[in-house]
C-alpha cells in the first residue's frame, strides 16, 4: 500500500467547481500522502490552479469535500473554512503562479508578516506589545531568528534588508516558498514553483523541497509542467485534463499510462499507439 491511501494528509473527495457554465473541475477525488511530494500535472487550463484555490479557500467549491488531517489528529473540512483560517488553523500554506510578494517591503519583513498570527498572540493582540508587556520582545526576536533561518536556507541572508521587488525571478520564487514555510504549515501547495527557473535554480529548488519535506514534516503538493522535475522529485503524481482526473499513481505508473500520453499529445486514447509509432516511441 502507498502512503496516500494509508496515511493521507489531505483527502479531496468529489470536488466540483463551476464558473457559470464552465465546469473547471469535475468530480475530482485524490489523496495527498503525509510526507509525500505530490505532483499535480496536466495541460494548460486543466484546472490545476483551481484545485489549489479550492484547497486554500480562495474559491468555494460547488460540490465536494476537502478533509485536512492534521498530525495532531484534528480534522478540518476546508470547504467550510474561510481562506485565512485555512492557513491559520488547518495549516495549509501556498504560493501563487504569478508571484505575490510584498514588493515594497524588505525580504525580512515579508517573512515577519508570515508569522503574523503567532506574533499577534504574543503581543496580546497589540495591546501588550504596545505597552511593552509580556513576552512580545522575545517572540519578536524569535520570529527574526526563524526568518534568519529561512533566509540562510534560501541563501538570501545577505539581502535581508533589500526590497523584495528587487530580487531576481528565481530568488522571488524561493522567497515565496520560504514565506509560506514561515506560517508553519503541514501542507505546502506550490503553484508552478519551477516556472521560469534556469537549470541551476531548478536544481536548488529540488533540494529545497526535499529539505522541507525531510526536516519540517511538511507534505508538499506542487503543480509542475516540467516532466523531468516531476519524475525526479515526486512520490505521487495526479494528472488532470479538462478538470477530470485521468491518472493517479507513482511517477512510473503515470509515465506509462496511455491516457496521460494521449492527453499530452492531444489525441484520442485509441490513437495513442498510432502516434507513438509515428514519432518512433
Amino acid at each position: 500500500m502507498n502512503t496516500w491511501d494509508n496515511n493521507p494528509v489531505l483527502k479531496v473527495e468529489h470536488l466540483t467547481m463551476r464558473f457559470g457554465g464552465l465546469t473547471a473541475i469535475n468530480d475530482l477525488s485524490f489523496n495527498v500522502g503525509r510526507g509525500d511530494i505530490t505532483a499535480l500535472i496536466g495541460p494548460n487550463g486543466a484546472g490545476k490552479t483551481t484545485v489549489f484555490n479550492c484547497i486554500t479557500g480562495f474559491y468555494k467549491p460547488t460540490e465536494g469535500r476537502l478533509v485536512m488531517n492534521r498530525s495532531s489528529d484534528e480534522k478540518h473540512l476546508l470547504e467550510r473554512m474561510s481562506d485565512f483560517k485555512i492557513t491559520a488553523d488547518a495549516k495549509v500554506a501556498r504560493t501563487f503562479q504569478n508571484i505575490r510578494l510584498f514588493g515594497g517591503m524588505t525580504i525580512l519583513e515579508n517573512l515577519m508578516v508570515a508569522q503574523h498570527n503567532r506574533l499577534m498572540i504574543a503581543s496580546n493582540w497589540t495591546i501588550g506589545g504596545l505597552l511593552g508587556l509580556g513576552g512580545y520582545r522575545k517572540s519578536n526576536l524569535d520570529a527574526i531568528e526563524t526568518a534568519r533561518y529561512w533566509l540562510e536556507r534560501i541563501e538570501l541572508i545577505d539581502r535581508a534588508d533589500a526590497p523584495a521587488a528587487d530580487l531576481s525571478y528565481g530568488d522571488q520564487r524561493r522567497l515565496e516558498i520560504a514565506r509560506a514555510m514561515c506560517t508553519g504549515p503541514e501542507l505546502l501547495c506550490l503553484d508552478e514553483p519551477a516556472a521560469g527557473l534556469n537549470p541551476k535554480e531548478s536544481l536548488e529548488l529540488n533540494n529545497l523541497l526535499q529539505y522541507i519535506r525531510k526536516e519540517h514534516d511538511t507534505s508538499v503538493v506542487l503543480i509542475e509542467h516540467d516532466m523531468s522535475v516531476v519524475m525526479e522529485i515526486s512520490d505521487h503524481v495526479v494528472v488532470l485534463d479538462y478538470g477530470v482526473k485521468i491518472s493517479d499513481g507513482t511517477p512510473e505508473f503515470v509515465k506509462n499510462d496511455p491516457h496521460v500520453i494521449a492527453a499530452y499529445l492531444g489525441v484520442e486514447d485509441g490513437e495513442v499507439e498510432l502516434v507513438e509509432e509515428e514519432v518512433g516511441l
Partner: protein, 311 residues
C-alpha cells in the same frame, strides 16, 4: 394617484439631467478607470456659460416662441463647445501628466481641479445665487383636480417635455457615435487595453481627450436643462449634482452608456419620490445611502459586467 403621476413626471425630468451628467463619469471611468471628480464642476461651469449666453442674447419669456427655441438651440451649441474646452483643459493640465503613474495622484488633482473650478466661478461670477426668470410657462394639464377640486392638478410643463426630448435625442446620437464610428472603436480599444491599443496605432491621448470633451459637452447640456428647470444656479451646484450623477453611473453599471441613463432615471425618481413622500431635508441622505448600498451589494451595477478576481 395624481400626486404619484406628478412625482413620476418630475422624477423623469430630474433623472434625465442626472443621466446626462452620469454619462461623463461613466465614459471617463470606463476608459481611464478614474473618478473625474471635477466633472460635477464642469457641469456647473456649463450651466453658468448657458446662463450668461441667455442673458447676453437677451432671451426672455417675452421672446416669440420660434425665436426662443432657435436662440436656445444656439445657446446649447455654443455652451457645449465652450464647456468642452473646459473639460479638455482640465484633462490636459490635471490628468494627462499623471497618466500611468500612482493611482492616488489623479484623484488628488481631480479634487484640486474641482476646488479650483468652484472658486474660480465664485471669484469671476460672484457667490450670489443667480435666479433666471422662467422662459417657458405653461404646459399640458393632465388632470384637472376633479370637479370639486379635491384632487391635484397634474402638470406636464413644456420645459419638462423639452428636457426629456433633448436628452433622448442627445443620448441617441451619442450612443450611435460610440457604437458606429472609429472614435467609439478607439474608445473601446483603450478601455480594454491601453498599451495594446497604442501599439496598434490608436492615438490614446486623443481618444481620452475626446472622451473628456464629449462628457463635458453633455454635462453642459445638463447644465442648461438644470438652469431652465430650477431657474437658479450658484457656484456650488456641481458637488451634489456630481455625487448623484456618479451614483447614477454606478447604479447603472459603470462603463455602460444605457446604464448611466437608466441609473440617472432611477436616482431622479428615487429622489423625487423620497422628497414627495418622506422628507425633503433628508433627500440627499437618500441619494448617498443608495450610493453606499449599491456599491456594497452590487458593485457591478444593473447593466455593468462583474469584475472577476482571479487568483
Amino acid at each position: 394617484m395624481d400626486y404619484f403621476l406628478q412625482q413620476l413626471i418630475n422624477g423623469v425630468t430630474l433623472g434625465s439631467i442626472y443621466g446626462l451628467i452620469a454619462i461623463g463619469y461613466t465614459m471617463v471611468y470606463g476608459i481611464i478607470g478614474m473618478i473625474n471628480f471635477a466633472h460635477g464642476d464642469i457641469f456647473m461651469v456649463g450651466s453658468f456659460i448657458a446662463l450668461i449666453l441667455i442673458v447676453a442674447l437677451g432671451i426672455t419669456a417675452a421672446t416669440p416662441v420660434l425665436l426662443l427655441i432657435l436662440a436656445l438651440a444656439l445657446v446649447l451649441v455654443v455652451a457645449m463647445a465652450l464647456t468642452a474646452v473646459w473639460g479638455w483643459t482640465v484633462e490636459r493640465i490635471a490628468y494627462r501628466p499623471l497618466r500611468g503613474s500612482f493611482r492616488l495622484a489623479p484623484l488628488i488633482t481631480a479634487i484640486g481641479a474641482s476646488i479650483a473650478l468652484q472658486n474660480f466661478v465664485q471669484v469671476s461670477q460672484g457667490a450670489k445665487n443667480k435666479p433666471l426668470q422662467p422662459l417657458f410657462s405653461g404646459g399640458f394639464q393632465l388632470t384637472d383636480g376633479g370637479a370639486d377640486g379635491s384632487g391635484i392638478v397634474v402638470n406636464l410643463s413644456y420645459i419638462q417635455i423639452l428636457i426629456v426630448v433633448t436628452t433622448v435625442i442627445l443620448m441617441g446620437s451619442f450612443t450611435y457615435l460610440i457604437n458606429n464610428t472609429n472614435l467609439g472603436r478607439s474608445q473601446r480599444a483603450c478601455e480594454q487595453d491601453r498599451k495594446m491599443a497604442s501599439l496598434l496605432g490608436v492615438n490614446v491621448d486623443r481618444t481620452i481627450s475626446l472622451t473628456f470633451v464629449m462628457g463635458a459637452s453633455l454635462a453642459s447640456v445638463a447644465g442648461l436643462m438644470f438652469l431652465l428647470y430650477y431657474g437658479v444656479i450658484d457656484f456650488y451646484i456641481g458637488f451634489l449634482a456630481g455625487v448623484k450623477a456618479f451614483t447614477a453611473a454606478v447604479l447603472g453599471g459603470i462603463g455602460s452608456l444605457p446604464g448611466a441613463m437608466l441609473g440617472g432615471l432611477l436616482i431622479g425618481l428615487i429622489e423625487t419620490f423620497w422628497s414627495g413622500y418622506f422628507s425633503v431635508e433628508y433627500k440627499d441622505v437618500a441619494a448617498f445611502s443608495i450610493l453606499a448600498i449599491v456599491l456594497i451589494f452590487m458593485p457591478e451595477g444593473l447593466l455593468g459586467q462583474p469584475e472577476v478576481e482571479k487568483v
